[in-house]
């Protein structure tokens, strides 16, 4: 009986929490499907009063920008996550080996960058003036490489792999690189998947670097496309008159709906990735929880 009531409370708490996470998402989707006029009169509603695909039509009328945004972001995510995962794990593996001589110093060196950073301006000078990466997608990929937090996360996971396994591989004549490739990586799939998801999200949501380094709209990643459309809509919404005195009727264009439709369109692919990696993710959450 007591267990039952405990369970009930737990369920209620979880349901409430779940609703808190889900409702904004549902609201976003339903607002994106509501007629612009209806939003003006009735406000935001969970169930669309006047269902309409107008907002999506409006965005897809000019698919040029959206598609190029997707394209750029997908390049950044795929190239970035692959290389980043490789580099991060290659750094983390030696640090996890107890027989690696300088791991204390190197760990400290990496840890140090977690606390102190050069700041925005030197970073900008490095990327733009020394490396000449302005307007190149590489400027959004490389800076995220070898994040200290991710290295340490992976190191802890690698340390959990019994050293006996590595020794037996060594006895069988495997080189260090071979051990890394054939023993360590396959055993660390959950951790790698978790990191891949973190990196994907990071790359996908990258905005501030894109604003700094990308000038050409053809190179905009998806988040900048979102910003661009938002800026355009804000312009039309403010006072119902564009600044050159040319009146725009805000209710002619489903401004709010477009904004929400853009949010749906930008977050859909990431939700997709999440669904794929979720089974690893659950395992990965326990990284470092048990020290064996």
């Amino acid at each position: 009986m007591r267990r039952n009531s405990m369970q009930l409370t737990a369920h209620i708490c979880l349901i409430v929490f779940c609703a808190m996470c889900l409702l904004p998402m549902v609201l976003t989707i339903s607002v994106s499907l509501t007629d612009g006029q209806a939003i003006q009169t009735f406000g935001y509603q969970i169930v669309p009063i006047h269902f309409s695909l107008e907002a999506y039509e409006y965005i897809l009328k000019e698919p040029f920008t959206l598609l190029s945004g997707y394209k750029n972001s997908i390049i950044i995510v795929v190239v970035g996550t692959t290389l980043n995962l490789l580099i991060t794990s290659l750094i983390a593996y030696p640090l996890a080996r107890r027989d690696f001589p300088f791991r204390g110093v190197i760990s400290f060196y990496i840890f140090f960058t977690m606390i102190f950073s050069g700041g925005m301006v030197p970073f900008y000078i490095l990327i733009v003036q020394y490396l000449g990466w302005k307007n190149m997608l590489i400027s959004l990929i490389v800076p995220a490489f070898a994040a200290p937090f991710q290295i340490f996360l992976l190191r802890v996971f690698f340390q959990e792999i019994p050293p006996a396994l590595i020794e037996s591989a060594k006895i069988d004549g495997a080189s260090d690189l071979r051990t890394y490739r054939s023993i360590i990586l396959p055993l660390s799939k959950p951790a790698l998947a978790t990191l891949a998801l973190m990196m994907t999200l990071g790359y996908w949501n990258e905005t501030i670097h894109a604003i700094l380094f990308i000038d050409h709209s053809a190179k905009y990643p998806i988040q900048l496309i979102l910003k661009n459309i938002t800026a355009y809509i804000e312009m039309m919404k403010n006072g119902g008159v564009d600044p050159s005195g040319n009146p725009v009727d805000p209710s002619d264009v489903p401004t709010d709906a477009i904004m929400y439709a853009m949010m749906v369109l930008t977050s859909l692919p990431v939700m997709f990735v999440f669904a794929f990696l979720q089974k690893y993710f659950v395992k990965g959450m326990t990284i470092g929880a048990v020290k064996g």
């Binding site: 661009n228 800026a231 040319n246 009146p247």
Partner: protein
């Protein structure tokens, strides 16, 4: 072994700190170097190009940054503009748009600090802060270059207007020609006013609207009268009435302390500690209690503009009748308050600056000159390409085409708006009217004065935070019957936050300004 590690660790920590220290000092140094370099090299550069101007100009590439939403049609328009620029001054300009104004400010600030090379940029007191950047040497001093390379642009304003753009006595950016004079007022729905026989011409303050709105509330069906008065809770509505009171804001509208702008010895005072402000919030509270302002005004995401019976407006410009008719979906009476007045913040609201990192400041000024004088070039930038983005419906009148993939590009952002085609609901002579308004406006005694907030930064941050905390609720009258009590609390909080110090500093600077003028 361990002690070696510790030593290296300490050493690397120290060296890293040293490097960071050097970096900031280094960038400061190079900043100043860039400044003096630009100002010392520009006369030389101008001489060399002045001699070569009669001959041929060598081809030059410039970079021009501003903000706005990028559109697929941008490139075609910029190509067309570059054709004109190439032909006239052998220059190619790369136009770079940053989506939003906040991002623009951030990006430009970092670019300036990184000494990145670019040539032209949009600047204003609110975005990519003109005063801060002019003072720290981000822009070329164009006091002498402007009359030389952009003579017509320089001549289109009286010298007094240029005074507003002066920082430490030097001009650092070209003012964009647009509406400068400001007059505020009310708009009142014509069908409703006629139906309830209300004479709007006598309205001089918000409370004069009360009998009219009450009649509408009683006479119209309830579902159309939930939001009769447009409270505009996010805006600083009280500042709309300053031109009428002949007050002028100093250093931002939410920083307490305004001055009477037409007195010979302007006196700075706390605008919230005045009978005018008290009346403003009490009227709002009365409106709220009588149901004339939407009950859920603070939380409602959107409002139906067609339900408003009356509204206050910050700026009345020529052609406003048609604009508000479209916004509120009914004919409107426009009731101006007081005389139009010309103040510093309005004159320099939008400007174009030449970057100190530019290699060709004189050519950048020629681009500014063309944007101000070449009608074809300017209209390309604002409206796009004829036949693709707009079609001509009259000599100077155009209509945007629905398939347009360019714009909207705001005309006030570049050059001379008086060269713009008219469109939509603007009257044909809108620019003549605007020009007249600019010229006939009363000039504030404080015209050309710019407040430097540095010595009272903390007090300003604290007091404006308090103003912003109460603003929305005061605007919508949400405190109802408690308004007077809350108002007293608001005033005492402002006092505690150091409002008097801000007022003193403002008065000190105003006095110094008036003294050096005489």
């Amino acid at each position: 072994m361990k002690s070696i590690f510790r030593l290296t660790a300490i050493f690397s920590l120290l060296s890293a700190m040293l490097i960071t220290g050097c970096q900031s000092a280094g960038s400061n140094g190079s900043n100043q170097k860039g400044d003096t370099g630009a100002s010392s090299s520009s006369p030389a550069a101008s001489q060399s190009s002045a001699s070569s101007q009669e001959e041929t100009l060598e081809p030059v590439k410039l970079k021009y940054y501003f903000y706005g939403a990028a559109k697929p049609g941008d490139e075609a328009v910029y190509d067309a503009m570059n054709k004109i620029l190439k032909e006239k001054i052998n220059t190619t300009v790369e136009f770079v748009k940053i989506p939003s104004n906040g991002d623009y400010t951030q990006k430009m600030t970092i670019m300036v600090n990184a000494q990145e090379e670019f040539d032209l940029a949009f600047t204003s007191p609110s975005y990519f802060d003109y005063f801060a950047n002019a003072a720290k040497g981000s822009f070329v001093d164009i006091t002498d270059l402007l009359p030389k390379y952009a003579p017509q642009t320089y001549a289109q304003f009286k010298p007094e207007i240029w005074n507003a753009a002066k920082v430490n006595g030097k001009i650092y950016a070209s003012i964009n020609q647009q509406i400068f004079a400001r007059q505020s007022g009310f708009v009142i729905s014509k069908p409703l006013a006629d139906k309830y026989q209300f004479d709007p011409t006598g309205v001089t303050k918000q409370s004069d609207l009360l009998p009219f709105l009450e009649k509408v509330k009683a006479g119209e069906p309830a579902d159309t009268t939930d939001q009769l008065y447009n409270a505009q809770m996010k805006n600083h509505v009280f500042s709309y009435f300053y031109p009428y009171y002949e007050w002028e804001t100093i250093g931002g509208s939410d920083v307490p302390g305004v001055a009477s702008s037409v007195l010979d010895q302007p006196k700075v005072f706390n605008e919230y500690d005045t009978p005018e402000f008290k009346e403003f919030i009490l009227t709002n509270a009365e409106f709220q209690m009588k149901g004339l302002i939407a009950k859920d005004a603070l939380t409602r995401p959107t409002f139906d503009a067609s339900k408003y019976a009356a509204s206050s407006m910050a700026t009345l410009m020529p052609g406003i009748e048609e604009t508000v008719k479209k916004t509120y979906k009914a004919e409107q009476y426009i009731i101006p308050l007081g005389d139009p007045i010309l103040t510093t913040p309005n004159a320099i609201a939008t400007m174009t600056a030449v970057s100190a990192t530019s290699k060709h400041p004189e050519r950048a000024l020629m681009v500014i000159e063309l944007l101000n004088t070449d009608k074809e070039l300017y209209n390309l930038m604002v409206w796009g390409i004829e036949g693709v983005d707009y079609e001509k419906t009259g000599d100077n009148r155009i209509e945007s085409l629905s398939g347009s993939t360019y714009g909207p590009a705001p005309g006030w952002m570049f050059g001379n708006q008086f060269n713009s085609f008219v469109s939509g609901t603007q009257p044909d002579d809108v620019w003549t009217q605007t020009k007249e308004l600019n010229e006939t406006a009363k000039v504030s005694k404080l015209y050309g004065f710019n407040f430097s907030p540095d010595s009272v930064k903390t007090e300003i941050a604290n007091t404006s935070a308090i103003v912003n905390e109460y603003k929305a609720a005061f605007n919508t009258g949400m405190y109802g019957a408690d308004t007077e009590k809350i108002y007293a609390e608001f005033l005492s909080k402002l006092k505690a936050a150091g409002v008097d110090k801000v007022l003193q500093e403002k008065q000190k600077q105003v006095d110094a300004f008036v003294a050096q003028k005489q």
